[in-house]
Structures are given as structure tokens and as C-alpha cells.
């Protein structure tokens, strides 16, 4: 007996991609057989795993090397901010050393890919950390300023206001009211 088969390759490719990607806990859209859109941030470890798994099936990720470096810059910055024992060197020196590229190169690349500067990204991340600390840990601004190496509370407050348009105390008040409001709605 002989079977004659007809295949729809694009159906096949999508099916394989779906089966493989579903094993990771990430949201994605398969745009077409050579483009996958991830709807959330993929950390480097997951990225490596996905890449390895797809390679097994003959897929090659035509990856954007720039994105990978940017991702590493972001991870290094976050590590610097959240780790209190991080070495107290200038962030530009630390990044250049850690990523083995000149700071000028990293800085240009970062702006090109993320539409913001490294300096600005550091401020955004720091302010995010401040938000977390004032809402969840009930630390005073003085304690937070000290923890995050701000020269003074005034400096922290003005950076917060410049970045978000509101003061740290207004932020705290709004989030508190918002929580009260949403718990009222549930009851």
C-alpha cells in the first residue's frame, strides 16, 4: 500500500511552534511562520531555553544582538539598584566593565533600542523601587533616601516629582485610597 500525502507547511510550522511555546509560561502571538511576537518581557534564561528548543526542530532565531545587549544592560542596572551590597562605583564604569564594551557604545545602543537613555532608565528603576518601598514596607522617606544612596530627602523628593509629576506623599495617599476603594467595591 502507498499513501499519497499533501502537507500544509505553514499549518505544520504553526502547530509545532504552538506546542513548543505553550510549554513556557509566556503570552505570545504567532504572526506568521517566521515571526513570533512575545506579549511580555522574556528573561534571558527563558530566552535561551526557547532558543535551544526551537533549534532542535530546525528553527533558527535570526536574533537581534542589540536586543540581547540591551537586556543585559537592564538586568545589570536592576541588580545594581536592588542589591544593597553592590560595589559603589559609578554605574557607567560598572556597566562597561561588566558588559565588556565602552560606555559610549552601550549608551548609544541603549538609546537606539529603548527610546530612552541609560541615565533615565536608572532613574525610572530607582523611582519604581521607591514606590515599592513606600507602599509595601512603610519606610519613611529618610530611610529610603539613605537606602538608595540619595544625598538628601529633598533630592529624592524632587526626583520623584520630576519623574512622576506627583509628590511621594501624594503617591502614597492615592494608592492607599485606591486600595480602600477597590476593597469597598468587592464587599
Amino acid at each position: 500500500m502507498k499513501l499519497f500525502l499533501k502537507t500544509d507547511t505553514s499549518f505544520l510550522i504553526k502547530k509545532i511552534l504552538e506546542e513548543k511555546l505553550d510549554t513556557f509560561n509566556v503570552k505570545y502571538n504567532i504572526i506568521n511562520t517566521n515571526e513570533i511576537l512575545f506579549l511580555e518581557e522574556i528573561d534571558t534564561i527563558t530566552y535561551e531555553k526557547i532558543s535551544a528548543l526551537l533549534t532542535e526542530y530546525g528553527f533558527e532565531i535570526i536574533e537581534n544582538q542589540k536586543n540581547i545587549i540591551v537586556q543585559k544592560i537592564k538586568e545589570t542596572i536592576i541588580e545594581m539598584i536592588f542589591n544593597e551590597n553592590a560595589p559603589s562605583v559609578k554605574s557607567s564604569v560598572y556597566l562597561a566593565e561588566k558588559l565588556n564594551h565602552s560606555y559610549g557604545y552601550l549608551s548609544n545602543l541603549f538609546s537606539e533600542v529603548t527610546y530612552t537613555s541609560i541615565e533615565n532608565f536608572i532613574i525610572i528603576q530607582k523611582i519604581e523601587y521607591v514606590k515599592k518601598l513606600i507602599t509595601h514596607h512603610n519606610l519613611t522617606l529618610t530611610e529610603i533616601a539613605f537606602k538608595l544612596n540619595y544625598s538628601s530627602v529633598a533630592h529624592l523628593s524632587s526626583q520623584f516629582k520630576n519623574t512622576t509629576g506627583i509628590t511621594p506623599s501624594a503617591f502614597q495617599r492615592i494608592l492607599k485610597k485606591r486600595n480602600e476603594f477597590s476593597s469597598q467595591n468587592i464587599n
Binding site: 511576537l37 512575545f38 506579549l39 511580555e40 518581557e41 522574556i42 530566552y47 536574533e63 537581534n64 536586543n67 540581547i68 537586556q71 537592564k74 529603548t114 527610546y115 530612552t116 532608565f121 525610572i124 528603576q125 519604581e128 514606590k131 515599592k132 507602599t135 512622576t164 509629576g165 506627583i166 501624594a170 503617591f171 495617599r173 492615592i174 494608592l175 485610597k177 485606591r178 476603594f181 477597590s182 467595591n185
Partner: protein
């Protein structure tokens, strides 16, 4: 690794304002795909249609006929399906009470309508760029408050 555009829905009953906004978005460095609706009812119909692709940000005029921006905001915040959408309110009002109230109701961004096109572009660029960092860097959207 990253998506490379932002989906925007703009709800405003004023035709000139809609045009200013879409023109301003066109000129930003970040790619945006903008769709517009003319009032609050049209906005909710669009969002509730299962066929619609939900936007990343909704720009919501506070004063619209049929259904106000505040009513839309409340409805959007009550629907878990819309929880990932960032809400940017814009209004001519700069009353502290109005502003704080929209934040408490769940808005992320409050924009006082700028008086000229140059300023509008600047404001939108800042809003979209910061929002981009929230999308691409896994920041906690519940803590996203921005007043312009």
C-alpha cells in the same frame, strides 16, 4: 524579543483634538498604531467586542457626550479582561480634586490638555516612552502614576 509598536485607542468627541493627537503620534519615534472613537459608548462597544484587539493605552477625554470619561474609567476598571490596559486621562481641568479622583479610580496618567501642538507632542512622547519602559521592562503597572 520585544514587540515594536504600541496600540493606542483615543476617545474624544472633538474632531480637531482627535486630529491633533493622531498627528502628534505620527511624529513620535516609537511606532504607534492609533484608532479613534468619538464618544464613551463607542469606546465601550469597541472594547467589549470580542473581535477587537485590546490597546496598550487608552487616551480618554473626560468630557464626552453619551458616556463620560469617568464612567468609562469605572467600567474598564471593573472588567478583569481590561486589566493590562493603561488609562491616560486628559482634560482641560487642572483641579487637584479631579486629578486625584481619577487616579484613585484607577487611571495611570493624567494629562492637562496642552495649549499648542509642540507641547502636545512633547507630552505624548514622554507618556509613550515611559509606558514603553513599563511594557518592555516588566515594571509593576499598579504603581504607574504620571501627571503631566
Amino acid at each position: 524579543m520585544q514587540k515594536d509598536f504600541i496600540l493606542i485607542t483615543l476617545a474624544d468627541d472633538d474632531e480637531d483634538d482627535r486630529m491633533f493627537f493622531t498627528d502628534a503620534f505620527d511624529e513620535l519615534k516609537i511606532n504607534t498604531v492609533v484608532n479613534t472613537v468619538n464618544d464613551g459608548v463607542a469606546l465601550m462597544n469597541f472594547l467589549n467586542d470580542p473581535e477587537s484587539i485590546l490597546p496598550n493605552i487608552i487616551f480618554l477625554d473626560l468630557n464626552m457626550p453619551l458616556k463620560s470619561g469617568i464612567e468609562c474609567l469605572k467600567e474598564i476598571k471593573n472588567e478583569p479582561r481590561f486589566k493590562d490596559i493603561v488609562i491616560a486621562i486628559y482634560s482641560t481641568s487642572s483641579s487637584e480634586e479631579d486629578i486625584e479622583n481619577t487616579f484613585v479610580l484607577g487611571a495611570n496618567i493624567y494629562i492637562k490638555k496642552p495649549s499648542n501642538f509642540g507641547k502636545l507632542k512633547e507630552v505624548l512622547s514622554e507618556v509613550v516612552t515611559l509606558n514603553w519602559q513599563y511594557i518592555t521592562s516588566g515594571l509593576n503597572k499598579d504603581n504607574f502614576l504620571l501627571r503631566m
